[in-house]
């Protein structure tokens, strides 16, 4: 194993020209399945609940429709002509097609075609932040002025499995562009990746498998702490320098625990911590948390974003909010609007909406 302490090279990535977020948009479906419903059906109400409830996509929703909603919100906030978007990249582990891109459908729907890059990304729960790093590089190298990175999922959970309590639907879109037009500048980003088989879904399998307790310390905690510590070390920052921090949120507990380990307070984490209300929205998890923070942050705030994807890796970003007050059109729904737009469903409705009944 590589000894990280001996590695003195600069590993934090910064593009040739500074890049930032010029627009962002969340999307959460309206349906909520309380964790107590799953416990009622599968464990006679006996299990401890990792979240209060999770967001569930409706029968006419998938990663394509949800990505379009989020991307439209991001473009409206940015006020950018979609024809200026040079790339549409979508990270998800629920792409509706195994072969045929989600990204072309989304690019067409938002008006970015035909002079654009379009591709799908997959890295479990960090496909979205991978797309974001690529978009930073794309804009930062002047290949285009704007690139749209989306993390969106309708996560699968095997009925009765521990992950069914949290596997939720939702995500966010980010339009990356030149720093001088940004609401939040990306000051540096770093990725930490190893071959760690904590969670996977084989080709043609409907549901993922996981290594139970192996998903904790060697996977989630090791990768997030390694990524966050390296980024802070190279940026010369400490947790107290940040006004907010958002970590991947597979359940209500893990983000708080990893935050405390790193030295963050719950006050720095609470605005972006949405897992108790929506579950784990996988590739959209950390990113939708970031949208909630951007909705309420103050000019000049500094923040840390760290994703985690099984398999495994973490992407860490240091962000600095623009000194100008953020001014967006009122027509764009806030993340809180989506959280409050909710309809509770029961387990049987959930099985119908998510296609969990074998009909033939």
């Amino acid at each position: 194993m590589t000894d990280l302490r001996r590695d003195t090279r600069t590993r934090v990535m910064q593009p040739a020209r500074m890049v930032g977020i010029v627009g962002y948009g969340a999307y959460l479906p309206r349906f909520r399945l309380p964790a107590s419903e799953i416990s009622r059906v599968w464990t006679e109400g006996q299990s401890s609940l990792p979240v209060q409830e999770k967001a569930v996509a409706g029968p006419d929703e998938d990663v394509v429709t949800m990505s379009i909603e989020a991307a439209r919100n991001a473009i409206m906030r940015a006020g950018v002509d979609p024809q200026d978007i040079g790339a549409v990249w979508i990270g998800s582990e629920s792409h509706p097609y195994a072969v045929k891109p989600t990204a072309t459908i989304v690019a067409e729907a938002i008006g970015a075609v035909p002079h654009t890059q379009a591709a799908d990304w997959q890295f479990a729960c960090k496909g979205g932040t991978e797309a974001m790093q690529a978009a930073i590089a794309f804009v930062g190298s002047c290949m285009s002025d704007y690139a749209c990175a989306i993390g969106m999922d309708t996560a699968q959970g095997r009925p009765g499995d521990a992950l069914e309590y949290t596997a939720g639907s939702g995500g966010a879109a980010f339009l990356l562009g030149p720093a001088d037009k940004s609401v939040a500048v990306v000051e540096g980003t770093y990725s930490f990746v190893t071959d760690t088989p904590d969670f996977w879904r084989r080709s043609n399998a409907n549901y993922p498998q996981h290594g139970q307790r192996f998903t904790g310390e060697p996977a989630y905690f090791r990768h997030i702490t390694s990524a966050a510590e390296r980024l802070m070390d190279e940026m010369g920052t400490v947790p107290q320098d940040y006004d907010f921090a958002v970590f991947h949120q597979p359940n209500s507990k893990f983000p708080g625990r990893v935050g405390r380990y790193l030295g963050f307070t719950s006050a720095q984490l609470e605005v972006g911590l949405l897992a108790p209300e929506i579950g784990n929205v996988y590739a959209g998890s950390a990113l939708v948390g970031l949208t909630a923070v951007l909705d309420s942050c103050d000019p000049g705030d500094r923040g840390l974003l760290v994703s985690f994807g099984s398999g495994a890796g973490s992407d860490a970003f240091q962000l600095r909010i623009s000194d100008q007050p953020l001014d967006f059109p009122d027509v764009v729904p806030s993340t809180r609007d989506y959280l409050e737009r909710r309809t509770t469903i029961d387990y049987s409705t959930y099985t119908r909406y998510r296609g969990k009944l074998a009909l033939e």
């Binding site: 006996q46 996981h210 290594g211 139970q212 307790r213 192996f214 060697p218």
Partner: protein, 389 residues
């Protein structure tokens, strides 16, 4: 007339019990072997006996005898794997004892090694369940906790014992594990936590059962006395392996661990001592009901009375009969085929006065007993620490 060789423990080693995801089976074993060899001063054993249950199924590795002899640098040395379900570690010690007592070899290395947690729960539970009678029991889907639940329910019914009366066994084990740096669970346990714990197979709750774990332990045995500490050697005074009915339904009385009873009886006879002379016992407390039935089988308590022994710290380190002095299977953890060797290491360290914060004061005689297949196999060893120069 030929004489039977005496056998002494001249070295011990063990790894922490837990989830060793970052280390292979052979490296795990080597860590314990290295410690044991270094503590004994022996460079090359005459033979190696390896206790293991699941490597063929979990690690796709048979023939651990040769694997470890090769990996530990002992090519050319006799080596073999011994499997007897949960009693594998004790059975490996037993095979070493036979070889040493016969005079065929002069030194033996016994290694117990198990890696279970590379696979997830249901697969490990299914693999361990294969220790039962496959045609009659496993085929019904009965797992080890389910067997223990059947036995515990019967005990509660026949002797009018409430399930909470079993708490003292878990409390004692978790208390003792706090001071054991190699134990899996070191947080302690209180009665409230025990009473409120989730049920695994009614009436067995999560604290009545031992956690499946990874670990390796090693012993160096020799027919020549060796000093573990200046002026102090530990002799293996007796060794007995007994089998009985494999299937639960073939037992005339499921509340009597016949293999354990016969094995203990023969061990006491060989050692020439009686149960009341034992200063501490490492019993096979994979489930709290097993601790109770083992106490009764070994003659430490009368039938139906074993549970009473744990009252008022009777099995604590200062009690009438200390058991699970380093946490037992319940809290030290249960690394399958290594468990019987851990028990031997622990008893040896107690008799040699090397148990540090877990020390039972003045311990001179210790008993280690492990069980396989819900008590169908039992291996008992009695260790003698009275020989102080």
């Amino acid at each position: 007339m030929s004489t039977i060789q005496d056998v002494f423990v001249i070295g011990t080693g063990q790894t922490a019990v837990g989830e060793h995801w970052g280390i292979s089976l052979r490296h795990l074993a080597w860590k314990a072997v290295k410690q044991a060899l270094e503590s004994s001063g022996l460079e090359r054993p005459d033979a190696i006996f390896v206790g293991n249950i699941l490597a063929p199924r979990i690690s796709q590795q048979h023939n651990l005898g040769t694997l470890l002899a090769d990996f530990c640098g002992f090519r050319g040395v006799e080596a073999i794997t011994v499997e007897a379900s949960g009693a594998s570690g004790g059975a490996a010690v037993r095979q070493a004892m036979l070889a040493l007592r016969s005079g065929e070899i002069g030194t033996a290395l016994v290694v117990g090694v198990e890696k279970m947690t590379d696979k997830v729960g249901p697969e490990v539970t299914a693999a361990l369940a294969a220790g039962a009678d496959s045609d009659w029991e496993l085929v019904q889907g009965v797992t080890a906790p389910a067997m223990a639940a059947l036995i515990m329910r019967r005990y509660m019914h026949d002797y009018g014992v409430h399930r909470d009366e079993f708490a003292d066994f878990a409390l004692n084990a978790h208390y003792n594990a706090q001071a054991n740096v190699d134990a899996m669970f070191r947080n302690g346990l209180d009665l409230k936590q025990y009473v409120q714990a989730g049920i695994v197979a009614s009436p067995v709750n999560i604290f009545d059962g031992a956690p499946d774990a990874d670990g390796a332990a090693a012993l160096v045995l020799s027919s020549e006395p060796g000093e573990l500490r200046p002026g102090l050697s530990v002799r293996v005074a007796s060794s007995s392996l007994v089998t009985h009915t494999l299937a639960l339904h073939d037992r005339r009385d499921v509340l009597s661990f016949e293999a354990a009873r016969l094995s203990a009886e023969r061990a006491f006879q060989q050692a020439g001592i009686t149960p009341d002379q034992i200063d501490l016992a490492e019993l096979y407390d994979r489930f709290s009901i097993y601790a109770v039935l083992s106490l009764e089988a070994c003659g430490f308590a009368r039938r139906g009375e074993g549970w009473r022994l744990a009252r008022n710290s009777g099995v604590g380190r200062n009690g009438q009969l200390p058991i699970s002095t380093f946490g037992g299977l319940t809290a030290r953890g249960n690394p399958g085929g290594a468990t019987g060797v851990y028990q031997m290491v622990e008893v040896t360290r107690q008799l040699a006065g090397m148990a540090q914060d877990n020390q039972v004061a003045g311990a001179k005689w210790g008993l280690a007993q492990c069980l396989g297949s819900s008590g169908a196999t039992a291996v008992t060893h009695i260790l003698d620490g009275t020989n102080r120069n």
